[in-house]
């Protein structure tokens, strides 16, 4: 069966196995065959693929087990999606405390990639809200892991890219909210200096902050800053209707110099015009692209890369400026750059990506060598600043860069499951 990661850079002929029950799952994990766990395949590069080997999917393991409205603790199977959780609980006064920019993510995937969201400075990463999980390993064992029980394996599995075992079910703590609404403010900024003061000024009073910026034109550095807090509104929210879709893969990338400039200029002025306060439903606020199915197809048959870096806050402004200049000069620009500051919270997992600093995320159409050359230049800047790249987005970083950015890799090694590997682990770890 073909399996393609979100970046669509290559297609794998995977042997996908879809156990129907937890009992089935244990049998398949312990079958002796090498495998990798599979959720919704929304990772961009190769952390979620296993060449032409076996992928054990959590597609049928998507049931809720229990929910306690006193504590907000939800126990569920690993294939349950964040979308399902948000829809089920937003009108009952609970939501996920941390969510990435798409809700098409399974609980297993959210833990294995220790995903972060716009509220990192307020709530940390997804892993910070995981209370415990059951991990099925290829020796047939089922291990319950939490901060009090098997803590080493717990920390290794959070952000562990699926390499420590198959997360079968998990208990997470949902956050209490009034409803599914967010009070937001959008502010246009003209340069990076303004971005950093906005970010600093917003941290105390705003739970969520993020910004989109222009990196393709000579006006590089200007952008739109969005901040938000859960609303006190209890108005019920209707279920999402998803109607738009990119129906096919265009023969060439629709993202090119011309369309980008036009888009970025247009987007800037649109955001400038719509600056100010607004109440958004959580879908508009957290998941703006979820309403367009298969948006990744716009990059054409060659696919695209996302480059997401984090560098320490101290030199963050300088480093970001330097990176933006290189990107603007390369004309390999991005649809939208995302720039945000992470809070000071230390990572929940041994291999967690989100850490104190400034993170920059950009999508680039795959133009072969030209794109690789640009990345090589950016790598140098990120490495010299003591930063690293996000494995869940990566399809090309060097072994050296991974080792330098993830200094607990050796400790992580002792928790690996010997029968699990991914294209990513073969490329930079094994």
């Amino acid at each position: 069966m073909t399996l393609t990661a979100w970046g669509r850079l290559r297609t794998n002929e995977a042997k996908i196995s879809e156990p129907a029950t937890l009992g089935d799952l244990v049998g398949r994990v312990a079958s002796g065959e090498q495998f990798l766990g599979l959720g919704l395949a929304r990772s961009y590069g190769d952390v979620g693929t296993n060449g032409d080997g076996v992928s054990i999917s959590s597609a049928n393991l998507n049931k809720m087990v229990s929910f306690d409205p006193e504590s907000g603790l939800l126990t569920c199977e690993a294939g349950l999606t964040l979308r399902d959780i948000q829809q089920t609980f937003c009108n009952r006064g609970f939501m996920l405390p941390v969510t990435p920019g798409t809700s098409f993510v399974t609980i297993g995937g959210a833990i294995a990639n220790d995903v972060h969201g716009k509220n990192h400075h307020f709530a940390g990463t997804f892993g910070d809200h995981v209370v415990e999980f059951d991990l099925v390993r290829s020796d047939g064992s089922i291990t319950t892991c939490s901060r009090n029980q098997n803590e080493g394996l717990f920390r290794a599995t959070i952000g562990g890219l699926g390499l420590t075992g198959f997360i079968a079910r998990a208990t997470i703590r949902l956050a209490r909210v009034a409803g599914g609404w967010v009070e937001t403010e959008t502010i246009a900024y003209g340069n990076l200096g303004e971005f950093f003061s906005l970010a600093d000024d917003s941290e105390a009073d705003w739970q969520s902050t993020v910004s989109w910026f222009d990196c393709s034109t000579r006006k590089a550095g200007r952008g739109s800053f969005l901040r938000g807090n859960p609303s006190g509104s209890t108005d019920p929210l209707a279920a999402a209707s998803s109607s738009l879709a990119v129906p096919l893969v265009p023969p060439i990338s629709l993202i090119n110099k011309l369309s980008l400039d036009a888009f970025n200029i247009g987007y800037y002025h649109l955001k400038k015009a719509t600056s100010g306060k607004a109440r958004m439903n959580y879908r508009e606020f957290y998941y703006p692209l979820d309403s367009i199915q298969h948006w990744n197809r716009v990059y054409g048959p060659k696919g695209f890369y996302q480059y997401q870096s984090v560098v320490p806050r101290r030199d963050g402004a300088e480093v970001t400026k330097e990176m933006l200049q290189i990107i603007a000069r390369s004309s390999a620009g991005s649809f939208l750059g995302v720039l945000k500051t992470f809070g000071d919270k230390q990572p929940a997992g041994l291999l967690s990506f989100a850490r104190p600093g400034v993170t920059l995320a950009l999508d680039f159409p795959n133009r072969g060598e030209a794109t690789e050359k640009l990345f090589a230049k950016l790598d140098v800047i990120v490495s010299e600043a003591g930063g690293c790249l996000n494995p869940s987005k990566d399809a090309r970083m060097s072994r050296q860069m991974f080792e330098a950015g993830f200094n607990r890799l050796a400790e992580f090694g002792q928790y690996r499951d010997p029968n699990i590997a991914s294209d990513f682990s073969r490329r930079v770890i094994d």
């Binding site: 073909t2 879809e18 809720m64």
Partner: protein, 243 residues
């Protein structure tokens, strides 16, 4: 709204249950063979919809006596909807060589569903109202080399349902035969099922169809047209097709 679902651990049945659970006053009588498995599905419904009442019943799907007794017990109070969802995707090649396997597949796919249909139709008739729906398949619309052991059982259910429809015509008891196209469920997980319809979307069509008391419910709806064409293909052409 009191709803009986047999084979409540099937993916399509479960998605129907979740759709009904969103409606006010839903109460479920879930029937399955495996207590542990049923527990998981029941918990899913309750966790999502804490106000919904869920009762669980375990029965041997081929024990005519036990099925009749269960129907009688559940029929002591009026039932609004009965959904009969058991089915196993028969391995055609195996069925052609292993006759014990063929026999057990025919038993589950045809006999068991008919026993449930007859037992519960009697209860609906007793109260003079209710909707009974049986999950058949588009595979029952025309026998094909690749799946006729499965298709024949589903054709039998369609005929059985048609008979019940005539029997109850003019009353407030409605009978529906549901014909899902290939659906992405654990039953089809051995096939290349990534492009199939989701159980959730199929369930939406089924729930609306039962509500509207449709006699035949194709899900997704385009299968009505596709199977209309497939039935019309002359055998001289059909025999050369490979699908």
């Amino acid at each position: 709204m009191r709803i009986v679902i047999s084979a409540a651990t099937s993916a399509i049945a479960h998605q129907c249950a979740l759709a009904w659970a969103r409606m006010p006053g839903a109460e479920f009588e879930l029937i399955a063979r495996d207590v542990q498995k049923l527990d998981g599905f029941a918990n899913d419904i309750i966790t999502r919809h804490p106000a919904v009442k869920v009762h669980q019943h375990i029965v041997d799907f081929e024990d005519a006596q036990a099925i009749g007794a269960l129907a009688q017990k559940l029929g002591e109070t009026p039932i609004d909807i009965v959904l009969i969802a058991q089915g196993s995707l028969t391995d055609q090649a195996l069925a052609q060589t292993d006759f014990n396997y063929l026999k057990s597949e025919l038993g589950l796919n045809a006999v068991s569903s008919m026993l449930f249909a007859e037992s519960f139709a009697e209860q609906l008739a007793k109260w003079g109202k209710g909707k009974l729906a049986i999950i058949g398949s588009v595979a029952g619309d025309r026998g094909r080399a690749s799946n006729y052991a499965y298709g024949a059982t589903k054709a039998a259910l369609a005929t059985f349902a048609a008979g019940l429809q005539q029997r109850f015509a003019g009353s407030s008891v409605s009978i529906s035969i549901i014909k899902p196209g290939p659906t992405k469920t654990p039953m089809t997980s051995g096939l290349n099922n990534s492009k199939m319809a989701s159980a959730e979307s199929v369930a939406r069509v089924i729930v609306a169809g039962i509500e509207a008391r449709k006699r035949v419910i194709y899900a997704p709806k385009q299968w009505a047209l596709i199977m209309f064409v497939v039935r019309l293909i002359p055998f001289a052409v059909f025999k050369r097709l490979n699908f």
